[in-house]
């Protein structure tokens, strides 16, 4: 009784406060101006309000503390070493590059814009020379100017893989394909700037001289691993504990796996930075060992968003969808979830047998296993993610996966089996990571539908943390007879090279850490990639990307499950919030603001 009365009174009190607040705001705004995206000013912006569009941009205020939570710390906060998508996204708070992704929602967010540089590259010499000039007023956190030599040194660190392992190595492969440079720590030249492919004629100018053209080179320079690092501040393997800031925020404290706090870098000047708004005063990240508690804290309003941006856990998602739908966005992530067929394992050396699996699978059931159309994504019909240039989405569906055959086509599968010379079916093994329950569920779904066409598949769950050693070793795959491997892949940068080269180019078949699981050795595809990297105009690149996708699909190497979607949480406090294809459908962290600074 008592509690009831109290809560009733409290409710009345809140109602009164809300009424007064409403009156005041109406008066202040003259009653006319309403936010362009709808939704209330104090509350959530609405379901999908920030998906590929900006929600509540005008409400962002300077100041306040932006609170991230996460279930997983970054692999490293060192710009050279990080490979997690969220780390690249987050690193823009404290690190600038020559060029970076536009701070715009959706597709535009995947386009490049000058950052430290005054403009995009001046490309000469048939795409083999890229020249940039640095902006005035760009500084490190101690106030010293950022020079072209700092940029060069930062890029050189990619070569020191023995000390700084973990990050992407595209720049190393493109600038020094023969591996002649040994990295700055073994550099014998006095200034440690011995990499010949990069020239710094003066502190403001930097020139990249590529041995061979690569049409995506500028995209690679947009990666976090192309960030400048100042030599006297390089703590080598420990740099990730406190990176020296070139952006609007700097590290105040960090304890791995526990928490991270960024505060304003007072030496950063708004005028020198065309893209960063730097709304909050402080940015905190708290790590949780239990994803459910993270979701609880988000729903409870203690935190603003999930730094990992990998979607809510099933439990939190269910609650959130029911009670807080206006706080959710449902973006496409850029990931495709699929099964792939190693040609080294019979009978998957025969394309017809591969197609039998594609036809026989129940694609709706696979989608359901992934979480359904909202939490899982649309049924995947080909192998190019929607965010990548040249992608056609569900319009390109050569096996009618999302069409006529979406519940599985037994007749067509049997036909394919006959053509393969296995009219009575065959036995094989599905390899799946044991630490991804959703993937195990898809394996089980696949197993069930394949049984109907006479293919007996047994499921082998392997240690998910040992992926690169188990399915990344072609020898082991052959030995274990893994005919079907369940995996997923997202683009490092949104081009066919940034997504598909490691998967489909025969040059990328490795003894360990292999990702070309299907063992694709197709001269046409290899040739298309070669052609792609020398094609400089965007229209040409897009055309080739589409062509590569078609070739891959025609070969029947892959059974795509979904064009992945996530449910991500945004708190009531967030303003200027939008998802970007530049970071696989995550919210663009760097320009998030708060509606209220208290």
């Amino acid at each position: 009784m008592t509690t009831q009365r109290t809560s009733g009174r409290r409710k009345q009190a809140w109602a009164a406060v809300a009424a007064v607040a409403a009156l005041l705001t109406t008066a202040a705004c003259g009653g006319g101006d309403s936010d362009s995206n709808g939704g209330s000013k104090t509350g959530a912006a609405g379901f999908d309000a920030a998906n590929n569009k900006v929600a509540q941009a005008s409400l962002a205020k300077k100041g306040g503390t932006l609170k991230f939570g996460g279930a997983q710390d970054a692999d490293s906060w060192d710009t050279t070493r990080g490979y997690y998508g969220f780390m690249w996204n987050f690193s823009r708070y404290y690190s600038r590059q020559l060029v970076t992704n536009k701070t715009e929602p959706g597709k535009a967010g995947a386009e490049l814009t000058p950052d430290l540089a005054t403009g995009l590259a001046k490309v000469t010499d048939d795409g083999k020379t890229y020249t940039y000039t640095l902006r005035d007023g760009v500084t490190w956190e101690d106030g010293k100017p950022i020079t072209s030599k700092d940029v060069k040194y930062g890029i050189e660190r990619v070569w020191a893989q023995d000390v700084l392992s973990g990050g992407p190595v595209y720049l190393k492969d493109v600038l020094d394909p023969k591996g002649e440079y040994k990295g700055p720590y073994k550099d014998t030249s006095k200034d440690k700037l011995g990499l010949k492919a990069i020239e710094t004629p003066d502190d403001k100018t930097i020139v990249f001289k590529l041995p061979a053209a690569n049409s995506d080179f500028e995209d690679m320079l947009g990666l976090t691993s192309a960030s400048p690092v100042r030599q006297d501040k390089d703590t080598k393997s420990k740099y990730g504990l406190k990176p020296f800031s070139s952006g609007p925020y700097k590290f105040q404290s960090y304890s791995p796996g526990k928490d991270l706090t960024l505060v304003r870098n007072t030496e950063w000047k708004q005028a020198s930075d065309p893209i960063r708004k730097a709304y909050p005063d402080k940015i905190t990240v708290q790590f949780f060992s239990d994803a459910n508690q993270l979701d609880q804290r988000l729903i409870n309003g203690d935190l603003d968003l999930d730094i990992n941006q990998t979607g809510m856990s099933p439990q939190g998602r269910t609650t959130a969808l029911k009670q807080h739908k206006a706080n959710l966005d449902n973006p496409v992530t850029g990931y495709i979830r699929y099964a792939t067929f190693p040609q080294s394992v019979a009978p998957f050396n025969n394309a017809e047998c591969r197609k039998a699996v594609i036809y026989g699978a129940d694609h709706v059931s696979l989608q359901t296993a992934r979480g359904g159309p909202i939490a899982g994504g649309d049924i995947g019909t080909n192998m190019l993610p929607p965010s990548v240039a040249g992608a056609e989405g569900q319009k390109y569906d050569p096996y009618e996966i999302a069409g006529a055959n979406k519940k599985g086509n037994v007749a067509k599968a049997k036909e394919a089996l006959k053509a393969c010379g296995k009219p009575n079916g065959f036995s094989t093994t599905i390899a799946v990571r044991n630490n991804k329950p959703v993937e195990v569920a898809t394996a089980q779904s696949l197993q069930a539908s394949l049984k109907k066409v006479g293919i007996n598949a047994q499921i082998d769950q392997f240690d998910g943390s040992q992926t690169s050693g188990i399915i990344g070793s072609p020898e082991n795959v052959k030995k274990k007879g893994y005919g079907i491997i369940i995996m997923g892949w997202g683009p490092d940068f949104p081009t066919v090279q940034g997504y598909g080269m490691p998967l489909w180019d025969s040059k990328y078949i490795l003894e360990s850490g292999n990702n070309n699981f299907a063992m694709i050795k197709d001269k046409t595809i290899d040739g298309l990639f070669d052609q792609y990297v020398t094609t400089l105009d965007d229209a040409g690149k897009t055309k080739i990307a589409t062509e590569i996708n078609h070739k891959v699909m025609e070969g029947g190497y892959y059974l795509p499950f979904v064009f992945e979607k996530f449910i991500n949480w945004r708190s009531d406090r967030l303003a200027n919030v939008y998802t970007t294809d530049g970071y696989s459908g995550m919210y663009d962290f760097v320009n998030l603001g708060l509606k209220s600074t208290t």
Partner: protein, 332 residues
């Protein structure tokens, strides 16, 4: 008493060396046998074999096992330097290894997280001792009564309900439901009240489980002790009943409780993984869980060693206390 102490200390030291050897063996031999390549998980998506080899060198994984053990032992007393690829990392004594995953020496991680776990374990222990023993004694004195049966039903449920259940329940009721606590951990050095407020739920959750066990053992022991001749003697002397129970019977009842406490505290100090995970307390248990997720072997190794050490020390303390309580033990 001194001879007893020296004997115990010596045995503990021998035990520690054995534990280090065994733990080391497990962590360095098993991945080898299982064919798991730790180094390859350190490199990025497109692993370059040369980079994998370089990482292997850096982690010292290509050295023979005895060299690895020797380096490790030496590191504890003399510190250790890891040099690879022009990068030199010094890990000062006591060096319990170095995490190349988070680029930290293990010892500071342990000392940073140890107080959290210790606070959790000790705080919970105080609670469960008070409530467990009180409930156990009352049950014993009112054997067969409604109170006794009720207390034992509660105790049984306490023993059988897992922490992730009671923990999540208390979180959703008191933190997310009623909002009595914010459920955030505040370090003790920052604010005592903040720390205390943040620890109340974890303490209660953990203590609930243990209090149940302690109530049961207290009840059983107390009933047994009450039948002893010396209790009758105490009464025959004209002692008040509260002195008979509180002094003569209690002191004997403490012996098995103390043994249990030593074991439990030792194990908990090694990491109350479930409680720390549920309440997001940055203690050793959470560290080891993260380390398992990230395949951070040195951290797992360090925490395992600390756990063993904690159990060892707890047992040593119990042995000494045992001798203080029971003079007969001093002879053994």
């Amino acid at each position: 008493m001194l001879a007893y102490l020296i004997r115990r200390l010596f045995a503990a030291a021998v035990m520690l060396v054995v534990i280090i050897l065994v733990v080391f063996g497990i962590f360095f031999l098993v991945p080898k046998w299982a064919g798991v390549d730790i180094a390859s998980s350190f490199v990025g998506k497109q692993a370059d074999p040369a980079a994998v080899e370089a990482v292997r060198q850096k982690l010292g994984l290509s050295d023979p096992i005895y060299a690895q053990v020797w380096e490790f032992f030496k590191g504890i007393f003399a510190g250790r330097t890891y040099a690879a690829g022009g990068d030199v990392t010094h890990c000062s004594a006591p060096c319990f290894g170095y995490s190349f995953r988070s680029e930290q020496a293990i010892w500071p991680v342990l000392t940073d997280r140890f107080p959290v776990t210790l606070g959790l374990a000790l705080g919970a222990a105080v609670l469960w001792l008070i409530f467990g023993i009180a409930a156990g004694v009352l049950s014993a004195l009112k054997r067969g009564s409604i109170w006794d049966r009720g207390a034992m039903v509660v105790a049984l449920s306490g023993v059988s309900l897992p922490i992730y259940f009671t923990g999540l329940l208390s979180l959703s009721v008191f933190v997310f439901g009623l909002g009595w606590f914010d459920g955030q951990y505040t370090p003790l050095e920052e604010s005592f009240t903040g720390w205390f407020g943040g620890m109340i739920l974890p303490w209660i959750t953990l203590a609930f489980l243990y209090a149940a066990m302690y109530a049961r053992i207290t009840r059983a022991t107390m009933l047994e002790i009450l039948g002893e001749d010396y209790i009758r003697t105490a009464r025959a002397k004209g002692l008040k009943e509260q002195t008979v129970i509180g002094k003569h019977a209690m002191r004997s009842t403490m012996t098995p409780i103390l043994t249990m406490l030593g074991m439990d505290l030792g194990a908990l100090i090694g990491g109350a993984i479930l409680t720390e995970t549920t309440f997001n307390l940055p203690g050793l248990g959470q560290a080891v869980l993260n380390a398992i997720k990230n395949q951070d072997l040195p951290v797992i190794l360090g925490v395992t060693l600390i756990t063993s050490l904690a159990v060892l020390i707890a047992n040593l303390v119990v042995d000494v206390l045992y001798a203080v309580i029971d003079p007969r033990v001093r002879l053994a």
